[in-house]
């Protein structure tokens, strides 16, 4: 089985059998896409909600809007069937509990909201998610069954 590591502001796709993983998600959001028919999998680690507000948007993997679009396109090019692609979200935490919550601090929620909007626009259903709260997450997407394993420090691990 290929183990494919997805960095920060990065996206990767793989054919079955593979495991896609991204480590230490904080306010960033990890989007796992899985085609239930072909088992083609994809994962993006996005940092910001929108490429439209950024001065430098050359790295399309960095943003929820362009990143998710590109991830789906790469999966379709590998042979995924759009109608059977489902999504799982993880991350979008607020790592520091400041009372006066600035935009920088709320970035986790904004990343999650933007990811949901893009997926809704693309008509990809979100079948499960583990988002928000105040801790980091490492995620692993297994192409055998589309299960996403979430690991944390001090908050247990779970499959979604």
């Amino acid at each position: 089985m290929d183990i494919i590591k997805v960095g920060m502001a990065d996206l990767r796709v793989g054919r079955h059998p593979c495991m896609l993983t991204t480590l230490g998600l904080g306010s960033c959001v990890g989007i796992s896409l899985f085609d239930r028919m072909t088992k083609i999998s994809g994962m993006a680690h996005v940092m910001l909600p929108s490429s439209k507000q950024a001065r430098d948007n050359t790295n399309i993997a960095k943003f929820a809007d362009t990143g998710i679009m590109e991830l789906l396109n790469q999966m379709l090019r590998l042979g995924a069937k759009r109608a059977s692609v489902v999504a799982k979200l993880a991350g979008g935490a607020q790592m520091f509990a400041f009372r006066e919550v600035s935009d920088v601090m709320r970035i986790g929620d904004r990343n999650t909201d933007a990811s949901r909007e893009v997926l809704a626009m693309l008509k990809i259903p979100i079948v499960s998610e583990d988002v928000g709260l105040n801790y980091g997450r490492t995620i692993e997407l297994y192409s055998a069954d589309g299960i996403v394993l979430i690991k944390t420090i001090g908050h247990g691990s779970k499959s979604i």
Partner: protein
């Protein structure tokens, strides 16, 4: 304002290094008083790293670290973070508690956990260090820096550092930070400072020091 961090010139980097030097010297003095030992300081480095490289300095994305972060407002806006590796955090917490209570405690908790007293000791250390760092910078530049109470998080390095990385994500794929290391009798005791002004505040900072673009 640099549109791209990689476009900073050598003189600007020198000035930022000097800022780091002044801030962390002041913090080192404060730390010396807390631990009642002489703390020496390595020459701070201004580093520009790709997103994926930044966690390597603390042992990878999943390394457990303690981050003490304080937002800055006023003339200089952004964030400052004091980052401790797990062992450094325990060392500092024990030294401080020992000095406050004058008793040695036997720890029973696993290394990954901190009790309330340790957390509050670390928060206090962070507060003192960050305040000293920023007041030195403020005196030197004449810039007004308003701060909030620092917050502490214990988690994976990737998750904690992402808070700083995201600000840079708006203008590129690299992070610029001023890294300072502390040591005592050749043993590293300190942790690292990350001074991360908002993108717009770099211009303010460089202008205040006479090297604006």
């Amino acid at each position: 304002m640099p549109d791209n961090i990689d476009a900073m010139n050598a003189m600007q980097l020198d000035v930022l290094r000097e800022i780091g030097n002044i801030g962390s010297s002041s913090a080192a003095t404060a730390l010396s008083k807390i631990v009642d030992k002489r703390i020496s300081l390595s020459l701070p480095q201004v580093k520009i790293l790709k997103f994926n490289e930044i966690t390597q300095i603390v042992g990878g994305e999943e390394a457990l670290v303690v981050g003490i972060m304080q937002p800055m407002h006023g003339d200089l806006a952004g964030n400052i973070m004091f980052l401790l590796r797990l062992e450094e955090a325990h060392d500092l917490a024990q030294i401080l508690i020992h000095r406050m209570l004058n008793v040695s405690r036997q720890r029973t908790l696993p290394l990954e956990q901190f009790d309330d007293m340790e957390i509050s000791a670390l928060r206090e250390v962070g507060n003192i260090m960050i305040s000293s760092y920023l007041s030195a910078i403020s005196s030197m530049t004449g810039l007004r820096i308003v701060t909030e109470v620092p917050e502490l998080a214990l988690d994976m390095a990737g998750a904690i550092l992402s808070v700083l990385t995201i600000e840079f994500g708006k203008i590129g794929d690299s992070v610029l930070y001023i890294d300072s290391e502390f040591s005592q009798d050749n043993i590293k005791v300190g942790g690292d400072f990350f001074l991360v002004p908002d993108v717009a505040s770099y211009a303010t900072l460089l202008r205040a020091l006479g090297v604006g673009q």
